[in-house]
């Protein structure tokens, strides 16, 4: 990804991320979230990780946020009245600033490491990623699927109780 393209996409991504946080209307916030997730996928494609980029769109932009929108619409949420600054807001802001500072420091420190490392053949390709996923990382992969299964069963149990 050329620096010019990076800065354009980065500016858009930051803008949409701010849109998620600052919008009072929950539907607008969710739409900004879709835009942001899509732009993240653009970064992945720029980093030669086409598969991850596409999966990002399928899973997050295409499924997760649709469910967000669904819930927002079914609950008929109105535009939120801004909450006054309380201790929770101060704490959240402090946590955000600290995390941001840590990330900046980490990024500056690691900026030269592996910057020019050559990509292996098939890097980011579906076949290579699948091979690694099903051999070296097979256990974490299966454990994650177990986690999702637990979530599904939990949802079914919760839905059953009422009926």
């Amino acid at each position: 990804m050329s620096p010019a393209a990076f800065f354009v996409v980065a500016a858009l991504a930051v803008t949409s991320a701010l849109g998620v946080v600052l919008n009072r209307n929950p539907v607008h916030a969710a739409c900004a979230l879709v835009a942001h997730l899509f732009l993240l996928a653009v970064f992945f494609v720029g980093l030669d990780a086409q598969l991850v980029g596409v999966l990002q769109v399928i899973v997050y932009a295409g499924a997760v946020v649709v469910l967000f929108l669904f819930v927002i619409m079914l609950l008929n949420l109105q535009a939120e009245v801004r909450s006054t600054a309380g201790p929770a807001l101060v704490f959240a802001a402090a946590a955000g600033v600290v995390t941001f500072a840590v990330l900046i420091v980490a990024a500056l420190r690691g900026r030269t490491a592996g910057a020019d490392a050559a990509l292996g053949t098939g890097y980011g390709e579906t076949r290579e990623l699948a091979r690694v996923l099903f051999t070296r990382y097979a256990l974490p992969f299966e454990l994650t699927s177990l986690l999702l299964l637990v979530a599904i069963v939990g949802a079914v149990v919760l839905a059953r109780k009422k009926g």
Partner: protein
């Protein structure tokens, strides 16, 4: 020069698809008239001239749509109301980038792959764009500030998400068979011959996959018998009730583009894509031994024509289906998706995987 070639391919595939879409509208008018035993639209008068019958109507329709007043209902979310039709059309149009419309065109030293974008994750890209298509529906439903629209939007998004799963799993069988996600590679693999004479089109290896994909594809395009999101007898026009003029036209266009897209994917995956039986890069090789040598441009033209004809056929087929079947009830729709197609597609995956494991790859 390379950039010009890429742009040329993109424009070509866009125009090809839009032409077929126009033919789809023609079929919609004429086939429906045939099926319902009437003549069909035949008397639009353009400046007092109505001599061409249906052709006049096809010209008059878009002009009328473009010139009509654009109405935004009171209390609607103006920004999202404007964005929704764009979100409905754009993901569909960009999907055609990965659909191959021919093999290669050799011009001098240059070998041009007749596919607008070569993506490593081609089929997943198709699914990603299909999953983005939901936003046009759900946002249109919400932004219109109308209960019918909202009902349509919620129905539409639930339906599209449900059938996307079966659609994706139906593709897994094809991916297992061809060991690739690239539609061009899949189309090339279908040029092989079984027993020296039968073209190895995908439908022979994946008959069940084809049925599931076609049904889920029609459900994705939200047309009868799956048109609950817009069902005019219940919801006026569903999620696009509150759209007029060119925005309404964009939703109609999204409808027909999706029909063409399903036709293009069915063609590429299950009916050989651009393959003409026994036509290789250097000409025909008939199974009885005769050969006809052809130059590369001629072969390319034949392949693109074959692809277009298959595309038109499957567009026509979907429109016949639309005018033949009644609409599902919502519970039937969900039952078919989750209890019918989903288990069937899982069976398809398991059986395909077993066959490949026990008897080796299909093509080999």
């Amino acid at each position: 020069m390379d950039l010009a070639i890429v742009a040329g391919k993109a424009i070509f595939v866009l125009l090809l698809m839009l032409q077929v879409m126009g033919l789809g509208v023609f079929f919609e008018r004429k086939v429906s008239a045939l099926i319902q035993d009437r003549i069909g639209a035949n008397r639009a008068s353009i400046l007092g001239f109505a001599g061409l019958g249906l052709i006049n109507t096809l010209v008059a329709d878009p002009v009328k749509f473009l010139l009509k007043e654009d109405i935004v209902p009171a209390g609607a979310d103006r920004v999202l109301h404007f964005l929704a039709p764009c979100l409905a059309v754009i993901p569909l149009l960009v999907t055609f980038a990965v659909v191959p419309f021919g093999d290669v065109l050799t011009l001098g030293d240059r070998v041009i792959n007749l596919q607008a974008a070569e993506l490593n994750a081609g089929l997943l890209y198709v699914l990603a764009m299909a999953s983005l298509g939901v936003y046009g529906v759900i946002i249109a439903g919400w932004a219109s500030n109308n209960r019918w629209s909202l009902m349509g939007g919620v129905r539409g998004s639930a339906q599209m998400i449900s059938y996307e799963i079966a659609m994706g799993l139906a593709l897994v069988g094809a991916v297992l068979t061809y060991e690739t996600l690239d539609l061009q590679t899949i189309a090339r693999a279908q040029g092989e011959l079984i027993g020296g004479w039968l073209p190895a089109w995908g439908i022979l290896y994946q008959p069940l996959g084809f049925v599931i994909f076609a049904v889920a594809g029609i459900a994705e395009s939200k047309r009868i018998p799956f048109d609950l999101p817009e069902s005019e007898s219940e919801l006026v026009a569903g999620y696009f009730t509150e759209y007029s003029g060119s925005k309404h036209l964009m939703f109609m266009m999204a409808d027909f583009v999706e029909v063409v897209l399903v036709a293009a994917l069915v063609t590429s995956l299950f009916f050989g894509g651009w393959q003409v039986p026994w036509l290789a890069r250097d000409g025909f090789h008939f199974p009885w031994g005769a050969t006809v040598a052809l130059s590369s441009p001629v072969v390319a033209v034949l392949q693109v024509t074959a692809f277009a004809l298959k595309l038109i056929f499957f567009t026509w087929l979907q429109i016949v289906v639309r005018w033949t079947l009644p609409r599902f009830r919502y519970d039937q729709l969900m039952k078919l998706g989750w209890k019918g197609l989903l288990p069937l597609s899982l069976v398809n995956v398991v059986v395909t995987a077993l066959v490949i494991l026990l008897w080796g790859k299909a093509g080999a």
